[in-house]
Subunit: 242 residues, 2 copies
Amino acid sequence: MNSTSLDRSLVEQLVRQALRQSSPTSTASPAVASANAPGWVDGKPNLRVSISARHCHLTDEHVEILFGAGSVLKAEKDLYQDGFYAAEQTVMVVGPRRRMLGSVRVLGPTRPFSQVELALTDSISLGIDAPVRHSGKIDGTPGCVLVGPAGSVQLTQGVIRAARHVHMNFADCEHFGVHDGDMMKLKISSPDCSVTFEDVLVRADKAAKLEVHIDTDEGNACNLDAATEVVLKKSGCGCEKK
Amino acid sequence: MNSTSLDRSLVEQLVRQALRQSSPTSTASPAVASANAPGWVDGKPNLRVSISARHCHLTDEHVEILFGAGSVLKAEKDLYQDGFYAAEQTVMVVGPRRRMLGSVRVLGPTRPFSQVELALTDSISLGIDAPVRHSGKIDGTPGCVLVGPAGSVQLTQGVIRAARHVHMNFADCEHFGVHDGDMMKLKISSPDCSVTFEDVLVRADKAAKLEVHIDTDEGNACNLDAATEVVLKKSGCGCEKK
């Protein structure tokens, strides 16, 4: 794996991660037994906020169509969540009216369905009206054409704007007093452009590490790279009400 | 003025405005005398949230250099604030490393200094590290090259990401209990991607109409076109504190 071969957009965006160590507001006392939970540092959750640039997930079948019979995804860079990676492979995504995004990174491993995740800015530039959806909820979403070096695939659906979410393990859940499927809020303090993101869905898994995923529009709206503090909170401080 | 000649980006972005009639949270009783304040409807403030796509402001001198001796800006579409307009003219903005934005709309009237306002996504694509600044605060900001049909201009500074702000008149100020220079917060409720923008600067003027300006990244982060409610509030509800 040669990190110097990563293209600029990948370096800048896909794996651009704010390794900010926050002091997440706790709404429950951490269990003593959580000290060794995945991703914890010094016995505490270690919040990471990452920008997911546009990318796609592919089925095994589509990998072979796009990159040639017998092809498999090759890991180029591991993502923070164990077992997931940015692949060497990229595809062209073609929308209606002959607009396209020339190089969209494939993330691995493969999945039972193919899915393209765009920021809204990307989808406007591509001319596709991508709805905000959580990963895998692609029924009735628009399709597109994927073009690889060995072939192309017509997706009848699967183009979405990935809804913001936070991966966490069950020790993190206990720390924050939340459960899988709950909503949280994330405040990013950034000079002259602080933002509180509502609707941050909890996706709990025993192996997950605490990490919020937002897209490039969201990351740019709050200038994440310049952020001075990130705070993740359970929704319901009362501020949501007018 | 022929609106059919507007290019797609202008139609889609520059003048894309959420004409949402909100119920702004009042922190002061509106004065009876305010019933005829600019922009008020039925004796109340009528909040508008508008997305400002990338654009530039030019001096008279630069208009002549870029578009030819004797040239003046020609209004193509009036903006919501009286006296301001999107001009027919566009310029090419060239950054370092030969990257460029081919068609950036000029807004009128002319100003004592030229200034380019980009979303962060634009500035990344252009390769310019544009700081978040309020309009006119351009000391020490990066420059760029502007290219028009008749000539080019080297700006030594003036490329910014415009900080979010709200225009209002003094009746609006009284209604919200704020003054020129205060900060407010704007909550956009949008399916699966609600956002609260902090750091919304009050820019008060007797002739202004109540209008928040955010950029395309901010508008896309909350999918403004799909928003169901917008609420402008004085900062300080307590939610800012952890």
